[in-house]
Amino acid sequence: MARLILSGNLQQLAGGDSEVEIDAQNVKQLLRALSERYPALAPHLEQDSFAIAIDGEIFQDVWFAPIGPDSEVHLIPAIRGG
């Protein structure tokens, strides 16, 4: 199971959980699992645009980026820039 690390706002919305084990092979599955576990998070996962860091590499808007069984995953705000 991949380890998802939550911090800041997301941690609040996840009822204070800072680290959760999630069974997901890719980003899409991860987001679905997360919405199911934390309904409070769901609207934010849809409204804000998020990037997912899988073992340090950042993926933006990439549903099918693979998540390994021992991956460390972070949910972070999407980055745009000028």
Binding site: I5, S7, G8, N9, Q12, L13, S18, Q47, D48, S49, A53, D55, G56, E57, I58, F59, Q60, D61, V62, A65, E72, H74, L75, I76, P77, A78, I79, R80, G81, G82
Partner: protein, 761 residues
């Protein structure tokens, strides 16, 4: 697209990548032939002009356009009534989550005008003079409301409210009372109390910065042409033709494919041309008038109603041990969003401590609306503001414990495996390398005279990838058309065609790049976030490899050998199987393309991922006139990790340009409003960007720590150069005067006042 990573490309000898050829658009740009936003003229073209609010905050009770409508030569008049209202929801528009309720109100005020210069109506007429006269005939009945300009004042419970339906996001539970605070963000980890307890030195300070404008020399400009059947063409100066299409189609209720957007040559953007202002108005006017409509902003309009980046109020606290280890960092960032939510406080908070290995860290940010123009991205949005505060405190701590500031940063520098304050661990990054280069640089050893000071600061930017397409057409003579979807804002047609020629193994002069309009390619995210050489580069390489695969197949067919026995090297297919060596050049294969299966076209449509952060360290020497407070920049050196510099001259150019924009931000650029919320310096006379005689040569050192996720190791370089300058200069001025400077800009009156106050104390 990590699967594209190709170590042997990096290993093999590069013939073109890393050289400094002339840019393909060079001649057009030096002869005046290049066509920018305002250079388009169409038959029957009308002139569009915008009526703007004279008030910082006012309810629009009514607008009477009848007199303007009746004026001879006026072909169309529009107000917010000509645009559908849109719900307040964040929906994806070309890769961005956008609240179109805010966007439609920003391009044309509805219930209220929220800043001086806010568009309230627009006209299209047969001439500039008639259009100007028509504006004077539009009668707007305003109810002037109290306004608020300062971020701290706007956060007060009794502050005038811009939006009575704004309830702070990011605090649980969501407040029941409306406020100007759109959002609270927080990042970090560890135990701050424990961290600060371990510190021998703790320094905390408050900082403020003023909004500054991107200052592109080309004002916003466009020509819209909507035909009677609703087909629309738009020519405009933008960082992203596909983003403009996505925004305008939604604002005007069109299908995206009804609207074809062609990006003109762009006269600077720096993030400020990633949004729409005139474009939807010109389309609405053209749709109403059934004529082409041209709209060009004046410099006053640019400064009153476009950009800028946030002003801010910040607090930073850092603790460290005597031997120079940071034990904890805490920061509070309050950023002005302008009239609508969406300041870059979030990326600012993520950047704040990103240069350092932090065990205990917290950054809290607030996104606050005020009666100023809605901010737009400006080069590393949010980063430079936070870096000014954090790098100033870092400098002060190094000074306090008597450690060289470069040494101190080296001791704490983030490196591969370091956990970023926003969570994930860094891959390979080059901060340490830039600090070592700074230490070794002659600049760092030059002795200083009285009233002179030296400052150093480091900076971080994430860099991004995103949706990108490229198309490569091999002509019948073997020359190559390269079509990309990202506007060329600083020489990207050069770097992209260099990568194409390198891959194909042909001379650069045979590759002819162009920026396609929205009908030429699939969706491309805009030119921004330092993504073009990275992302479009990836797409170009993939398209080239697509072409090469086809060329190898054609050669294999001709020779009747398995394709595995054909290799592509230096622009030719070679038979490497047993028997007579055979070879066909690109030109030969192109000639016979028809007979061997038809034209040869390579395509790539990707969502580029794996962008590598770029880090930088800047050195600056200043001299301060103790009697007038005037600061002179004596020497400047910018050192940055480019991963791999495809065209080193344009990488240097990004570093030099960012540094000088930073000099302006640090010393003289600011928005000056009177007590009525009227901008007093809406022009280049008193909005003081650096002029040629203000600055020295900007020395550069390119460090190359390859990004493993890019076929050539590229990292974006455009954003990072503006992150360190303000802190570096503030640190230098502080060392020259013995006074710590925490407020920007450090203009002569402010500097002299600080020196005198210090001496009086």
């Amino acid at each position: 697209m990590n699967d594209m990573t190709n170590p042997d490309v990096l290993a093999r000898h590069l013939k073109i990548v890393g050289t400094r050829p002339s840019r393909p658009d060079g001649v057009d740009k030096v002869t005046g032939r290049a066509q920018f936003g305002a250079d388009m003229y169409l038959p029957n073209m009308l002139t569009g002009r915008v009526l703007r609010s004279p008030h910082a905050h006012a309810r629009i009770k009514s607008i009477d356009v009848s007199k303007a409508q009746a004026l001879k030569g006026v072909k169309a008049v529009i107000t917010s009534a000509d645009f559908d209202d849109l719900p307040s929801e964040f929906i994806p528009a070309g890769e961005m989550m956008v609240n179109f309720r805010d966007m439609t109100r920003n391009v044309m005020a509805r219930e209220k005008a929220l800043y001086e210069g806010h568009a309230v109506a627009a006209v299209a007429a047969v001439s500039e003079a008639v259009a100007a006269q028509a504006l004077g005939l539009i009668e707007v009945d305003y109810e002037v409301l109290p306004h608020v300009m300062d971020v701290d004042e706007a956060m007060q419970p009794d502050a005038p409210l811009l939006h009575d339906d704004m309830f702070t996001i990011g605090v649980e539970p969501t407040p029941a009372k409306a406020s100007n605070i759109a959002k609270r963000v927080e990042f970090g980890f560890g135990d701050l109390e424990a961290g600060f307890a371990k510190a021998d030195v703790v320094i905390e300070r408050e900082f403020t910065t003023k909004p500054v404008h991107q200052g592109y020399i080309e004002p916003h400009a466009c020509v819209a042409n909507v035909s009677e059947d609703g087909q629309a063409e738009l020519w405009c100066t933008t960082q992203g033709q596909f983003i403009v299409r996505a925004f305008c189609a939604r604002l005007l209720g069109m299908e995206v494919s009804q609207l074809r957007v062609k990006a003109s040559e762009i006269g600077g953007g720096f993030g400020g041309k990633t949004v729409v202002y005139l474009e939807p108005l010109a389309l609405a006017l053209s749709r109403k008038a059934c004529h082409p409509v041209k709209m060009v902003m004046s410099r006053t309009e640019v400064l009153q109603a476009s950009g800028p980046t946030s002003g801010s109020s910040m607090w930073v606290k850092i603790g460290a041990t005597k031997d120079g280890r940071i034990t904890a960092g805490d920061a509070l960032l309050k950023y002005q969003a302008g009239a609508f939510q969406g300041s870059p406080v979030q990326p600012g908070a993520m950047c704040a401590f990103a240069c350092y290995e932090m065990e205990h860290v917290r950054i809290v940010g607030f996104d606050v609306v005020v009666n100023r123009p809605k901010v737009a991205a400006y080069r590393a949005p949010g980063g430079p503001i936070a870096a000014f505060a954090v790098e100033s405190v870092v400098d002060e701590i190094a000074l306090r414990i008597g450690m060289d500031p470069v040494e101190f940063r080296l001791k704490n520098a983030a490196k591969e495996g370091t956990r970023a304050p926003y969570g994930p661990k860094f891959g390979p990054i080059g901060l340490v390398e830039t600090l070592q280069a700074a230490k070794a640089h002659d600049h760092y050893k030059i002795p200083l005279k009285p009233n002179q000071g030296r400052g150093v600061a480091s900076g971080f930017w994430f860099n991004i990838g995103g949706e990108t397409c490229a198309s490569m057409h091999v002509g019948e003579d073997g020359s190559v058309d390269l079509v990309v979807g990202t506007p060329d804002i600083g020489g990207s047609r050069a770097s992209l065609s260099m990568m194409a020629a390198e891959e194909l193994g042909i001379a650069l002069e045979h590759v002819h790049p162009s920026v396609g309009d929205t009908s030429a390619l699939g969706f491309n995210f805009l030119t921004g976030g330092s993504r073009v050489t990275f992302s479009s580069g990836m797409a170009v390489v993939e398209a080239a490899r697509d072409v090469i695969a086809q060329l190898r197949e054609r050669a294999a067919k001709i020779w009747e050998v398995p394709v595995e026995e054909v290799e592509w090297l230096d622009g030719r297919a070679n038979f490497i199987g047993a028997g007579e060596p055979k070879s066909l050049t690109l030109v030969e294969l192109a000639k016979s393309a028809g007979k061997t299966g038809g034209p040869i076209i390579g395509n790539a449509a990707i969502n580029a991922t794996g962008a590598g952060p770029s880090l930088a360290t800047h050195l600056v020497d200043v001299e301060v006139d103790p009697e007038t407070g005037k600061v002179t920049i004596l020497r400047y050196t910018a050192i940055q990790d480019a991963g791999k510099a495809i065209h080193p001259a344009y990488v240097e150019g990004q570093m030099q340009g960012g540094a000088v924009q930073g000099i302006g931000w640090a010393l003289n650029e600011e928005y000056i409003y009177d007590k009525h919320g009227h901008l007093e310096n809406a022009g280049f006379l008193d909005y003081r960007v650096p002029v040629c005689s203000d600055v020295p040569m900007i020395d550069t050192v390119i460090v190359e720590v390859p990004n493993p996720n890019h076929p050539y190791g590229v990292r974006g370089v455009g954003e990072t150069p503006i992150v360190p300058p303000m802190a570096a200069i503030a640190n230098a001025v502080s060392h020259a005067t013995g006074v710590r400077f925490t407020d920007l800009p450090m203009s002569p009156p402010r500097v002299l006042d600080a020196i005198d106050t210090e001496q009086a104390a």
